[in-house]
């Protein structure tokens, strides 16, 4: 099995910088901006973006952590008990500008679950979607607002995002699971 590197650690860092600038370009004021990361890699990415904003603007943006397990639409089909992680949103979401953050955008089902969960917390003014990788194959009408890199993939491939904090290094790789089976 061969893992092909899509983004090196330097490229990951550059992509995060660029995504941060794009968020700021939409609304320089940072008024009502909050970041929400989806467990687990989305939270790492959100923390990076929070740090990048701090560096550029010297402001601490509120950061929330979302676990979407209880909102999944495949709970009855996945056949394994899901690992439930923490959800922690300690601020009011009403009338906020939310940037929802995940590492990879694929079918769109995780984002659907996240949107439903966020709506149960309050009524934000807007929700924008930021992902590091968009690999296509959407099953729902969901599109990202900010994308680090578009990667055309086949369904046999899986995209793996690694972050220093959780995996020891920054890297995005693509793995062919068909070969894996052989």
């Amino acid at each position: 099995m061969e893992a092909k590197i899509i983004l090196s650690s330097q490229e990951v860092r550059k992509a995060i910088q660029r995504l941060t600038h794009q968020i700021l370009e939409r609304d320089q004021s940072l008024k009502d901006l909050v970041l929400i990361g989806i467990q687990t890699r989305g939270v790492c990415l959100a923390r990076r973006i929070q740090a990048a904003i701090k560096e550029l603007k010297n402001q601490d943006m509120p950061l929330g952590v979302l676990d979407i397990t209880f909102y999944r639409d495949d709970l009855t089909a996945i056949g394994s008990s899901p690992v439930v992680k923490e959800t922690n949103i300690e601020f009011d979401l009403n009338d906020k500008r939310i940037v929802l953050i995940d590492d990879v955008l694929f079918t769109g089902r995780t984002i659907r679950a996240a949107l439903d969960e966020i709506m149960d917390f309050g009524r934000p003014k807007t929700i924008e979607l930021l992902v590091l990788i968009d690999r296509g194959h959407r099953q729902l009408p969901i599109r990202p607002d900010f994308v680090g890199k578009n990667i055309p993939t086949s369904l046999e491939e899986s995209v793996e995002v690694k972050f220093q904090e959780s995996d020891g290094s920054d890297e995005v790789t693509i793995i062919n699971r068909q070969e894996d089976k052989r």
Partner: protein, 314 residues
């Protein structure tokens, strides 16, 4: 780990990992119950039936609230008013409930092993909400959850269970759960209310309350179930309170931050004084709150397990 059990019948057969897994999942649900909208769609479209052959308010309501917060539909059946009165057997009642497409059956019954028997005959998930003197697993899980939340751990804790051990399924489930998780358990009661041979489970036994209190990090005080005293073995209520009742005076000899638990309903002035029940050491109402999170976790996990069997192709 993966949760594989279709039913939750007891704590005796659970592994330490399974116990930990339920408690961890319950912690996530506790966060949900603190939200403005205390409801998640995890069991949407599922039907939970509470089948209670014994009177219960707190456990039934707790299961009902838990199921509703998971977006399940809930039906309550009190056996006194159902066809059980007309002579239907437990299994027939269970099969009829299953034929109504119930997904999860929560059962309380006065016979030990009733939940296990139902589980053997049904495809639906079965959760034991108390069977005779045998076990009451979700009560012990919420006791342990509360204790861990208060003291940060279970391993190495000294826990005294005080009161009518012989007739108590709560005591049995607590003994299994606590000893598996590494707590040291002492049972304290008039000796005729201690089942013979219970020491084999690794617990200490005493009829000296001051001794049971002196080293304990926590006490779990059981209700005196006078209604179960068929043999006339029970002391009189006033007599029991004098010897085994928990009072402020007696607690002064215990650790200052001792945790006082009671599964409810309390007989004030029999198991403990009102000052203790409402005092700073008491976590009795937190137990009730935590019961919802623990039961949400159990409902959620058993529901996944059944579906796991069906979708095992991947």
């Amino acid at each position: 780990m993966r949760w594989k059990r279709k039913d939750l019948l007891d704590l005796e057969s659970l592994s330490l990992q399974e116990l930990e897994y339920i408690l961890t999942t319950a912690a996530s649900f506790k966060e949900v119950t603190g939200r403005q909208i205390k409801k998640v769609p995890a069991l949407r479209g599922k039907t939970v039936v509470n089948l209670f052959y014994e009177p219960s308010t707190r456990t039934r309501v707790s299961f009902e609230v838990a199921a509703k917060r998971l977006s399940a539909d809930v039906i309550n059946i009190a056996a006194e008013v159902s066809s059980v009165k007309k002579g239907e057997t437990l299994i027939d009642t269970g099969k009829n409930i299953e034929a109504l497409k119930a997904d999860i059956i929560v059962v309380r019954h006065s016979a030990s092993g009733a939940a296990a028997m139902l589980a053997r005959h049904l495809k639906a998930n079965v959760i034991n909400a108390g069977d005779g003197w045998h076990e009451h697993p979700t009560q012990a899980l919420l006791d342990i959850f509360t204790l861990r939340e208060k003291l940060g751990r279970i391993e190495g804790l000294k826990v005294s269970i005080i009161g009518d051990i012989a007739h108590s399924r709560v005591a049995r489930s607590n003994i299994w759960g606590l000893t598996k998780m590494g707590a040291k358990v002492t049972l304290c009661a008039p000796l005729m209310l201690i089942p013979p041979g219970i020491e084999e489970t690794g617990v200490k036994v005493t009829d000296d309350l001051d001794q049971a209190l002196s080293e304990a990090d926590a006490i779990n005080v059981l209700r005196m179930q006078f209604e179960r005293d068929e043999a006339g073995a029970f002391p009189k209520a006033w007599e029991y309170f004098k010897t085994f009742g928990i009072t402020e005076e007696r607690l002064q000899k215990a650790k200052k931050d001792i945790v006082v638990m009671h599964p409810g309903p309390i007989n004030r002035g029999i198991e403990m004084s009102s000052e203790v029940a409402d005092g700073v050491n008491s976590v009795i109402l937190e137990q009730v709150t935590n019961g919802i999170a623990v039961r949400m976790a159990v409902l959620f996990l058993v529901a996944q397990a059944k579906n796991g069997k069906k979708a095992n192709s991947n």
